[in-house]
């Protein structure tokens, strides 16, 4: 089942066009990886999906992106509601410099999702369990989140993202600042999270894309060169450029 459907998405920063006519269909409850060399526009596309590009004054997005058949690029779309449904995890772990508990409770609080402290405790515990962090931090929920290790911080950010039960989770190179062990933990987590959420992950590591995703899109110079099942892209790509990239001839 299709969750996200992008049609003719063009993005430009001032006079520089960053994305050209992107058309893509993203399946529900699957992991979609976006790969490509630096500056190819994969992160830009990801940030279109929760309208994070809005904060950049000179950034202009045209086209249509349907999520649940609703065009999120429409002026009527409320970004606050949108971002409640579309969570995001960033390249560098960015927990708030507050306690672990407060980090997770922030989303549910601003969206008024709970009525009592018990409900909130439950959400915090559940989110941390889903992010496979509960056992490590359950005794120090009221210590600052920035005191955790890099991998734990990133899982805290994932827990924060899933605390508001988003339908889609966007991940922008979530492992690029982490060591291999932490990376493996996050990848395992992604595999589990896809049962409840649709996941789109931007990654520099082709091995990671091959490991975690069911579908892969290859971006190059602002164009979506090829999109298809991960198996097909890695074993039998149609486009020569894709072939060159995944075999490491450029990028």
């Amino acid at each position: 089942m299709k969750k996200i459907n992008a049609k003719n998405v063009n993005v430009s920063y001032g006079s520089k066009q960053a994305l050209f006519d992107i058309n893509i269909d993203i399946e529900q409850n699957e992991v979609t990886a976006l790969i490509g060399p630096s500056g190819c526009g994969k992160s830009t596309f990801l940030r279109c999906l929760n309208r994070m590009n809005d904060v950049i004054d000179i950034c202009k997005v045209t086209g249509e992106i349907f999520i649940n058949d609703f065009n999120i690029l429409d002026k009527k779309c409320d970004v606050v509601r949108l971002r409640e449904k579309i969570g995001m995890v960033f390249q560098k772990p960015n927990p708030f410099p507050k306690t672990i508990y407060e980090n997770i409770a922030y989303g549910p609080t601003i969206h008024g999702m709970t009525q009592s402290k018990e409900e909130m405790d439950e959400i915090v515990e559940l989110s941390l369990k889903k992010a496979a962090l509960w056992n490590e931090v359950k005794d120090r929920l009221h210590e600052v989140g920035t005191g955790l290790s890099g991998g734990q911080q990133q899982r805290l950010c994932i827990a924060r993202a899933i605390s508001v039960s988003p339908e889609v989770i966007l991940m922008d190179e979530p492992c690029s600042a982490l060591d291999p062990i932490a990376t493996a933990q996050i990848e395992e987590l992604i595999d589990e999270l896809k049962n409840e959420h649709t996941i789109i992950i931007v990654t520099h590591s082709m091995a990671q894309a091959a490991r975690v995703s069911q579908n892969t899109g290859f971006f190059h110079l602002g164009n979506l060169i090829e999109f298809g099942s991960t198996d097909k892209i890695f074993k039998n790509p149609e486009n020569q450029k894709t072939q060159d990239y995944i075999t490491g001839r450029f990028g």
Partner: protein, 421 residues
């Protein structure tokens, strides 16, 4: 040596020279600071000591024109001047009228009040004799402290030969004592150096800084938040930014003229008050706080804003829940530095009339008052020898407050600021 070795040697030498220059520069600055502090402390220290003359007062009801059993009110309202004169004359029973006059001038002009207050503390002393401590005149005070030469011709000094003989006799009888000068901190300004204190200036400065804080802090923080977080980046905001930076460089006297021309001339706010002083100084502090607040807002990493926005927080929530609290330590320390600057500012206050001679302690920002730096200026202008040490003492107090505020700014910054890895 090969060419390469010579080259390397040269490089080491120039590095050594550079370090030496740096050390020289620092020692140069330190020496000046030490001379400056030494001068102020050595001059000002004696102002914290007060010279008193111990005299025997016989509380004679007749001289006070009191009935047989006076009430406390009668004692309070009695005229002590004759009694005080008599007391001073008793220091030398052979003195003629001129000499009695000179004896009177050896103590401050509030000697009758001091005698009265002593009696009010112990009303039973009426009709008895008790020793009372009277504040010595500033000239005698300076001679006692050794700040004033006595081996010069009589017509060149302010203390007569006769007064000196009496003084020497008092010294011999151990009637002249030195005590910590509490009244320097509790009394307002006075024309008499021995009575002048900094209370009016301290309270005035406090009210001024308070008014300045309450006006400049909210305005500056709101302006900084709007400019940094909400305003579109375009020519107008660029223009505003340039002007804020220019405002920080405007000479303070210009703000004084503005206060004079607008606050006093147009709005007719009360002259010489800390209210007007505070408003004028807040104009000066505004750009400092805005710049500090913007810098600390800029120092909050964008990833925190992104994190909050991605959680579905509105721009307002992102700013108020995350960016502003995280920027507060920097903003606050900038504010304290700005206020410390304002505390030491003199020129604008002179223009709005805070230079007036105020011998009362202000009770509110609406009362005429002095301020610490202006008090320094006023005393430095005075001719009397006794004010020289007061100037330095006042500078010491001002420096103390400034160091305290800068220390506070450092503590706020280092203790509460979030460190970003």
């Amino acid at each position: 040596m090969t060419r390469k070795e010579i080259f390397l040697q040269k490089r080491y030498n120039s590095e050594k020279r550079f370090k030496l220059y740096g050390k020289l520069a620092i020692s140069f600055a330190l020496i000046f600071l030490c001379i400056f502090l030494y001068k102020i402390f050595s001059t000002g220290f004696s102002a914290f000591q007060k010279t008193l003359i111990k005299v025997d007062v016989t509380y004679n009801s007749e001289l006070l024109f009191l009935d047989e059993n006076p009430s406390l009110d009668d004692i309070k309202n009695a005229d002590y001047y004759d009694l005080a004169l008599e007391t001073m004359a008793n220091l030398d029973l052979n003195a003629d009228e001129d000499q009695q006059n000179e004896l009177k001038r050896m103590v401050s002009y509030i000697f009758d009040t001091e005698i009265k207050n002593h009696l009010l503390k112990n009303p039973d002393l009426l009709g008895k004799t008790s020793s009372v401590l009277l504040t010595a005149s500033d000239d005698l005070d300076q001679i006692f402290k050794g700040n004033y030469p006595r081996d010069i011709p009589e017509d060149l000094r302010r203390v007569s030969d006769y007064q000196l003989t009496v003084y020497d006799k008092l010294i011999k009888d151990e009637k002249i004592i030195s005590k910590f000068n509490f009244s320097f901190f509790t009394r307002a300004d006075s024309r008499e150096a021995e009575l002048a204190g900094i209370a009016s200036a301290v309270v005035g400065s406090f009210f001024t800084i308070l008014v300045c804080l309450f006006i400049s802090f909210p305005v500056a923080v709101l302006a900084a938040i709007y400019l940094e977080e909400f305003a579109p980046k375009n020519k107008i905001t660029d223009f505003i930014e340039v002007n804020i930076n220019n405002l920080a460089a405007v000479p303070s006297i210009v703000f004084g003229l503005l206060g004079l021309g607008i606050l006093l001339a147009v709005f007719h706010l009360p002259r010489s008050t800390s209210l007007v002083g505070g408003i004028t100084l807040s104009l000066m502090t505004l750009p400092t706080i805005i710049i500090a607040a913007r810098a600390s807002l800029k120092a909050v990493p964008p990833s925190i804003r992104e994190a909050a926005l991605a959680m579905g927080a509105s721009r307002m929530q992102t700013t108020m829940h995350h960016t502003v609290p995280l920027s507060m330590p920097g903003t606050l320390s900038g504010t304290i530095i700005g206020l410390a600057q304002a505390l030491g500012e003199t020129a604008p206050l002179i223009l709005i009339g805070m230079v007036a001679f105020i011998n009362t302690i202000p009770m509110s920002p609406m009362d005429p008052s002095a301020s610490l730096p202006v008090q320094v200026y006023l005393w430095a202008e005075s001719a009397e020898r006794g004010f020289v040490e007061k100037v330095s003492a006042c500078i010491m107090v001002l420096l103390g407050f400034l160091i305290l505020m800068n220390l506070l700014a450092q503590i706020v910054r280092h203790k509460f600021e979030t460190k970003w890895s």
